[in-house]
Symmetry: none
Subunit: 204 residues, 4 copies
DNA sequence: TATGAATGAGGATTCATTCAT
DNA sequence: CATGAATGAATCCTCATTCAT
């Protein structure tokens, strides 16, 4: 990505980059941003410090690669549920997606915990913001489609609240392991989200 | 006691500590955890590095003092609303408290932003956890009083979700300044929270 | 000089700065700019690397302090001769000053050699340029006083040539130690310089 | 020989070396000795670092090749004037040569500036010393021929002063671009040089 | 021969902390 | 108690050079 850095063309270098990002993730997870020195990452990757700088311009670029991988993996994991939800009734669709979201978070709990608790947000916020924006856009269109008469401002507000709520609660549920059954958690979360729809619940 | 001139030494010490914590807050807010060196804090406080170590064992103790102050200030700011809410109908009480919570966050937005975005959570989580626990306890008892028939597990779950949701959304609303009117935000948030209350009889 | 650096106020720190500049000069003289690492300078000064950065913002500031000292010492050494030359006949005055200049260079031959041969000029040129400008100004006024009818452009040209010639030849004579008697060298140099004085009326 | 197609390998090598030296000159000129890393030179030459080390033992050998080229080019450029000057009257010959010298310097101003200002002299002094020695030898014989009665020591002294003066002033004139007309500069320089001749100017 | 990935010692610099005054 | 000079381990990063392919 950066200027004069090597772009992995050979098979060997691709594996090296892989090892560095793996090592970056591991060291970040166990030591936090500050203790994760480039030398330690290099050592964990089994390469020399110089090699590391052949592929990444600086420490933050390694961190960026790790978060990139987490975010991309999460997005991929949730995509099928988003497609499956299309056309389903709101409650069912919501539940389906929330399930996938929570599963996607749980699958990356270690790294997410490392970032959330041990890396200053400014280091990775841009990447997470980008994902959140994408998710918000999709959500907006989904909701707008099923509530054509709602005012845009109301829709935006609902989406803002829903996206933030889901993001935070799934992460905290996955990391905090509170004594709450998974299903009950998802049910309640779905209820909260559905209840946010601008016009309120349909009359009985 | 007022008017008498005494304990000059202790009084002076108190002011010195005050200045150091002020400086710590300022430097933390503008530079983040890592760039906030003890030397810079000392300089901003107008004391020598040595003096700083006369009052605090290490850098993290200064950070702890700052977060302590934020948390205590917040708790004090919210307390009156909590007392005023007692005995009111649920919706009104909720709205009252949420208003105070958001105001409490907004009043400390600068420092909260500094911590949330620029300080690794591990540095301040214990103190925030303690406050959250207190708030959760109070909330549990409030809800339990108005829903005597609800199962404890359902209550705990609702409280967990409600507290986390309020915490996160008020902070993000205050920091992110989204284009959402304050009242609409609080209305929606109140609806979410109230909607969480367990309704049916305890599951068999 | 630089921002947050310590300004030596106590006697102790003044001595420390002195030791660092001494060490900088010594290491520079024996190893050149590139091999003169800050750690080596610190070691030679008998202080820790950190101490060095308490007084100098970076390596170049140390180099600047060394050249500053060389230049200031030289200027001081030549000043008396400049004053003594005032009012003397041109030949005598020239010879007097040239003698002092060569002596000033010889007294600092080691350091001058280090800079000229082992430090890239960009590191110290500004300081030397400033001195040369001062010398050129003084020279211009001296010559203008004794040749009131000369055209300014001619005077400037002569001064430019003379100053550059004296600078270079005295340095190379002092450093190269060619088999030329000191007096003969100075006589010839004086002849060259005096011969440069514009003679005829200003060009039409 | 021209027109035949052969020695393909050696021809390719020659071009590769050429490209490396070109690149070395360019990188040296724009970055100075220290910043001119072998990797950057290799990249600028369009070859791999490994290839570079197939032709040059180390970085300094590349620098040497660049200065060699500068010096050789200069010597070639001045040679015709030296031949043309033979047999001419001293003043005319001097002026002729000085003109060629200045032109030779001006034609290489960029690289000369790079070396003079950004490369420690120890890296290239030997090669320049060799040229200066050659020029001094030639000068000695020229002067000795026209002043057969002069003492060798006097001749040597004059040549030492003249060569150094011409070298320095032409370089500084070419690099510094002072507001001095080229002709006036050369006239004055010629006067200085001619005036150095051991017996003084011929009686009128 | 050419490649380019890899090396690793070494450099400049920072900063939490100590301690003589 | 306060000072501020001093510390030195640790950090990020560079670059001349090597070597398997």
């Amino acid at each position: 990505m950066a200027g004069t850095r090597r772009t992995p063309t050979q098979e060997r270098s691709r594996r090296t980059v892989e090892r560095i990002v793996d090592a970056g993730a591991a060291v970040l997870a166990e030591s936090g941003y500050h203790q994760a020195s480039t030398n330690r990452i290099a050592e964990a990757a089994g390469v020399s410090p110089g090699t590391l700088y052949g592929y990444f311009a600086d420490k933050d670029e390694i961190v960026a690669a790790v978060i990139e991988r987490v975010v991309d993996g999460f997005a991929e994991a949730v995509a099928p549920a988003l497609r499956a939800a299309a056309g389903r009734p709101v409650e069912e669709a919501t539940r389906l997606v929330l399930d996938a979201v929570l599963a996607g978070v749980e699958a990356r709990a270690d790294l997410i915990e490392a970032f959330v608790d041990r890396v200053p947000a400014e280091r990775y916020a841009p990447r997470v913001d980008a994902l959140r924006d994408r998710v918000s856009d999709v959500s907006y269109h989904l909701v707008a489609a099923s509530l054509p008469s709602a005012a845009p401002a109301d829709l935006e507000r609902s989406v803002w609240l829903a996206v933030r709520t889901v993001e935070h609660l799934t992460v905290r549920y996955a990391l905090g392991r509170p004594p709450i059954p998974r299903d009950a958690f998802l049910d309640d979360l779905a209820t909260m989200i559905v209840g946010l729809a601008p016009t309120g619940p349909p009359a009985p």
